[in-house]
Homo-oligomer: 314 residues x 4
């Protein structure tokens, strides 16, 4: 007998205080429900697939590290998942240490590799001779400081002070003050989120062969229908050097005629197209399309063709 | 009350003996029916539009003069016509004169401008100082020789000897021994000829604006669906210098999925697409398409999309 | 010994009063020089090739008939010609007849095929049952009326009244009141006209093979360098159905970097590129190019590449 | 006074035993010279820039993780570096633990994130409930096992047994048995490696604006010159979501005409092109180009254009 409570559970990369947790606080339908902290993206998605959770919040892109590899590979290999929403969380970090440590004493810095990349410029300027010890999460790095880790300091989110007894050596150490991380809410395939006019559609597409012409041809599937691509990320398929799949976000909803037609073109062209979902944009900014790609234009063309096929005069 | 006999009449650019007449002898359904000789293409097509004739045979292209302008303009401006068949007639001409004339005496040559163009090289080599007087038809030019025309000789089809009392000064004077003229049978819009697998589809397309990019975009509508174009002819629209429409033949039948989809793309893109018909090729050569553009590929993609829209797992 | 007078002679399609003659009156360097009336475009160009004339004025395009076939074919086959200027002449026609003829009596109309095409709409509305007899020139048609031609009326330029004793039955009978014919002045290859900033360049290009992709690829040679095409005309090469050459006008002078680079691309791509010349536009309208295609951009890129090849740091 | 010995030093991501170290053993010119172990890619490249080392070996791509982010970002931001060679190292890992540990006891696995990704499938099947602790290097993870790390086991290269007193719990645990990592040797800009006919050229290119059309236009710079791209990797520029630079490998040497011309096109198009070098392919496989893109074709076109500009007949 399925647990009815399972429909109320959300999985996220914990512990509380991570950016993923911050993203989950922005998901309206998750408020007041059970939140499950997991150790990695694969675990979060398996919770969804198995029905243990109705949704998982996972990081899919940030402005320094690009596409988050594990997420993209998981979405490419686990079937029947759908993205239903996106959430942006500003990136902000502090450098923390055990109480009593001075900035001048810091030699070894613990940080999740993505966080480290986002603060690398600041660290190279401020502590030129530092070494980096990777941590499994932004929050764990701070915890470990008190557990006898070899690191002298850790990069952590500003909320860390409420959770761990550490001292803040420096604030706002992110190199790019405009950095944000993009998270998505993922559920099982089912009814699509409604079309809002400010939607995006996410896809993973493999190319049919390895020539550069194949990529050109894929991009033309969008261009020829006036579909704007706002993200393109290549990921190695993993079976050989030089074979890639592309993680793509386009403007619009699959219920938009031009998007649906582009998907038909892609599907005919590509050996594998994974539809990850159509969902409202985090910024709620309406998609602008020139009138030549309006739904009506597609519908009129179909009516005209139907007339031709039936033998009617035009 | 409509004349039932009208369904049995075919119009052609006469008189008997012209290449158009020769083309009509190749139209199976016209054999044993009434043939009406007319003076120009417009008249032939108006016979069809008005219902006086069920079909008109008109020249649409030859290998020297390219698209026949009057035909192409008439097809672009008279609605609801459909091409239902094509017929190739080899081009062969003789030079004829009033009995008693020697080749060395010839100064003025009468010929239809298209015939003249097809023999120009031979004439320039053989009679370098000749002048050309245009004639309204290949056959009329020969007739006029006996009616006191100023011409000394005329270019005419080889069959002229059976019709007019002229002397042949030279045979096979066509510059290109492989030249053929392409004729089409035109009727009113109605049931489409059946798909044979060796079909072509004719279109007239206007570009949305004057940039070269628009032509590129039009050609991509075909290329992106694997549709081969085997004729492209530009014709000025006539309202301003530099505005063109394109007369296009593509391989395949509008009932082929890839052709239908390309027509949808064209229709959305172009301010005016005229469908002139899908009909069997004169050479009956089967259209070869790589398997990625098979009908099944289009149908599978639509099934897949329908699943996505209904919210089913893939 | 070359005849010094030959440098002062210009050939044109006569007789005086034709549109070609009108175009020649607009060529500044030809005023006060000797003008030679010839019978056809080939003769005019041979005068230039042989050195009999320094220049020939020939019609190259009008807004009803598109590219003038004979001109385009002659330019494609006679080497080492260069266009050095273009001249626009408005198209205006009158219908004339022998004195005493009424419009209602006209059954047969004599006209050059291009003139006929330009007045066809008016004739079909005004004299629905007329027949057309082609004439060798607009002026000859009127002359022939008095020489016992079978025609009842002729299409002629308005200046005909000053030359032939005919009566004008109707004025301004051209269907398109904005129609103009474009003429060019052609000389032997030599020093290029100076770059004025309001130039065009004319080319004839053959495609390497018959696929539609080849045309796409040719157009991309221009698009990728920001070169605007303002005329594209396909002409059958004449050796087989479906093989075309393209007569092309682009904005700019071969001394413009972007044009020179596009010509390099074309030359590498095409089995045959004929450079017909770079010359000032008739309308003297400056060519506008976005700054990314300025000469400087091309020169900077070459300097950068030269540095790379020499092993210098960037 | 510069240290003459510096010309003999090579930097690599240590310690000895890492894959980078294995790559360095494949660099002929580095054998018998001084090897300096550094902590990260930035340090290795700074050694080169400062002149402390003549070369640095760094990982640039592997078949699981795609482009190595830190390397690509460092190459994009440090000027005047040049890649002079590439080296492939097969990926092979063992799972090691403190002596006495059984596979069944393992709960926490320490591994560099890239190594972890490459063994993730094996770990998920074999130790479904494991947790991952990131390590700074494949070798350090094993060392730390003996230093009281919380991890029970570590992923390490097979050579680890010679360096650290650990026990091997499992061998060949890499998910993809064909996985290789690609390393490059990087030096300061200077004389280019000689053209061998089996070369590749590496570039980093920014797009001029954010439309998908810009990517299409970039790819056409290669396609239109017959230049094959064998790697395309997008990296966020880091100043805003959705802005990317592309790390590109193409077939051929900058001294090949078609490559040089493509670089000119790129340079004119892009706000920033970084030339990373032309160097022999690791696999020594000759680049095949259709004859239409041979050096001669480019040289002939330039000769032809030079003739046109000088006013010579063609």
């Amino acid at each position: 007998m399925p647990d009815p409570a399972s429909t109320e559970r959300y999985s996220y990369l914990g512990p509380a205080g991570t950016f993923t947790w911050a993203a989950l606080t922005r998901v309206p339908e998750a408020q007041g429900k059970e939140w499950v902290s997991v150790n990695n993206v694969g675990e979060a998605l398996h919770d969804v697939v198995s029905g243990r959770s109705v949704g998982a919040v996972i990081a899919i892109e940030n402005s320094v590290e690009g596409g988050v590899s594990a997420t993209q590979d998981a979405l490419a290999s686990i079937p029947d998942l759908r993205i239903t929403g996106e959430y942006l969380v500003p990136v902000d970090f502090v450098l923390v240490a055990r109480p009593g440590t001075a900035l001048a004493d810091v030699r070894v810095v613990s940080a999740h590799p993505v966080a480290y990349a986002q603060c690398r410029g600041w660290l190279e300027r401020t502590i030129p001779a530092h070494a980096h010890v990777p941590a499994s999460s932004n929050v764990a790095a701070a915890h470990d400081l008190l557990d006898g880790a070899i690191a002298d300091a850790a990069i952590a989110p500003p909320t860390i002070r409420e959770q761990v007894d550490v001292e803040v050596l420096a604030e706002h150490i992110v190199d790019n003050p405009h950095a944000v991380t993009r998270f998505v809410l993922v559920g099982r395939a089912g009814r699509l989120p409604e079309r809002t006019g400010a939607d995006k559609t996410s896809l993973i597409v493999e190319l049919p062969h390895e020539e550069p012409g194949a990529l050109l041809e894929m991009l033309e599937q969008f261009a020829t229908r006036g579909v704007n691509m706002n993200r393109l990320h290549s990921r190695p398929i993993g079976d050989a050097l030089g074979r890639y799949r592309f993680v793509i976000d386009i403007d619009g909803h699959v219920q938009d005629e031009r998007v649906a037609d582009a998907l038909l073109g892609l599907k005919r062209f590509s050996p594998k197209v994974i539809f990850l979902g159509s969902y409202p944009r985090a910024d709620r900014q309406a998609v602008e399309v020139t009138s030549r790609y309006d739904d009506d234009v597609f519908i009129d063309a179909r009516d005209w063709l139907r007339g031709l096929l039936s033998g009617e005069p035009e």
